[in-house]
Amino acid sequence: MNQYITTFYSHFGAIRYKKLCDQYGCTAKVMPVPRSLSSSCGTCVGYTGEEHIIDEKYLDEIEQIVMVVSDGYEIIYSSEDE
């Protein structure tokens, strides 16, 4: 199992994504973005799962998805790269 954090452009995006995670059966939590991940102070969703969760329907609200690794975070998806 891996730990992921998804950050968003809006608080509501996080709420919707949390529901998506629930549908996938992942344990997810809506929380402030960790300082170590970003200097922005938005809302993120932290969850545990085999794979990261991404859905076309929610793509325009997602800023980035990272996987928590031993020395920090590994970027899985970033909207800036799209």
Binding site: H11, R35, C41
Partner: protein, 363 residues
């Protein structure tokens, strides 16, 4: 960095910020106004001739320092990221009305805390109003409010605002005749610490605020939304450290930095209702903006051009507030100010509704 470490960092940073704010008064700033983002942007607007209220005209080096401190820290930590394009016109309007709310109360959220630390009990109404305004904003956040995403912009765009701060620094040092400064004894604008002291204070606070994401709106918002107390602790520690510092400095006879009560408080009035309503407007607008005026300055330094637009909105709002006699004085609020705050609440609510509509159904 884990949560515990983050909390310790924010406690230390906030304690330093509280001490600096208290000391700035000793060095010459108006009482209970070691820092006030609203007042200082208003003073800067006046110095640049955007309004003609002579008692409040001075280019405040603290503002320059806050932006440049954040800018330097963001560059150093490789967090300088140039982005924008998230409803800039709406942000400008929200910034202007946030300022009108602040100038009804006579202080930004930062000064609310500092006024309390100086014993000004009128600030309690401001704080209650501010929290209520954030609560209203959160209702919209939960219903889908969003000003949509930001986009990466060219690096040069992010350097413009810090460069403008350097130009302002040159202007305050050179003091050419085109810049308007409040004459000695002419009002709060004439009360200021030496430029170098104000600048260094701003640089330190800007750097610390960038590292800790200190935000007066964020503190209350995160606590209501997630029961996350980290930023709120920062808020409380700024109050506690400024209070202790004020009490010590008053005790040793440096000056009267603590005076408990409602009456006769510096740059304040006693109208509880309008103190609260002004800060409801400020809290509501700032929640929709995603941060308090201090945070907007810090984000401007990090390369967020939406925050730059918001700061310009705050400055223009300050100019309107004085040109149209919307700003309160020690005598209390003005009729024009009351009308403007009501209009502001309607406009901010309309912005909230317009940027929320239809989202709940998407859920």
């Amino acid at each position: 960095m884990n949560i515990k470490k983050e909390k310790i960092t924010i406690i230390i940073a906030a304690a330093i910020i509280g001490i600096i704010a208290s000391l700035l008064v000793v060095f010459g700033n108006p009482t209970n106004m070691g820092f006030c983002i609203a007042c200082f942007l208003r003073d800067t607007s006046g110095a640049l001739g955007l309004h003609k209220a002579e008692p409040v005209q001075y280019i405040r080096p603290e503002i320059i320092g806050l932006v440049l401190g954040s800018f330097a820290m963001a560059l150093w930590k490789k967090e300088f990221s140039v982005k924008g394009g998230s409803a800039p016109v709406t942000r400008f309007i929200l910034g202007a009305f946030a300022m009108i709310g602040c100038l009804m109360f006579l202080g930004c959220p930062f000064r609310t805390v500092l006024r309390l630390a100086g014993g000004d009990l009128n600030a309690i109404w401001g704080l209650i109003g501010f929290a209520l305004g954030i609560g209203v904003g959160i209702l919209f956040l939960n219903k889908g409010y969003s000003l949509k995403r930001t986009y990466k912009q060219v690096a040069a765009e992010g350097f413009v605002f810090p460069i403008i701060q350097v130009v302002l620094l040159i202007l305050v040092i050179a003091a050419p005749s085109i810049i308007m400064f409040t004459p000695e004894g002419g009002g709060p604008g004439a009360k200021h610490a030496a430029i170098i002291i104000s600048l260094i204070a701003g640089l330190i606070v800007g750097a610390l605020a960038q590292r800790t994401r200190l935000c007066m709106v964020g503190g209350i918002r995160d606590f209501i939304l997630f029961r996350e107390s980290k930023l709120l602790i920062g808020f409380v520690v700024v109050f506690a450290s400024a209070l202790i510092c004020n009490l010590i400095l008053t005790g040793v006879g440096v000056g009267t930095l603590f005076n408990l009560g409602f009456e006769g408080q510096p740059v304040a009035h006693t109208d509880a209702l309008w103190n609260a309503l002004g800060m409801i407007l400020a809290g509501f607008a700032c929640t929709l903006l995603g941060g308090c005026p201090l945070r907007q300055l810090v984000l401007s330094g990090e390369g967020n051009t939406d925050s730059v637009i918001t700061v310009y909105g705050l400055m223009v709002g300050a100019a309107f507030a004085h040109n149209f006699k919307l700003a309160s004085s020690a005598d209390g609020p003005t009729l024009n100010g009351k009308i403007a705050v009501v209009i502001g609440l309607v406009v901010v609510a309309a912005i909230a509704v317009a940027n929320t509509m239809g989202k709940s159904k998407e859920q």
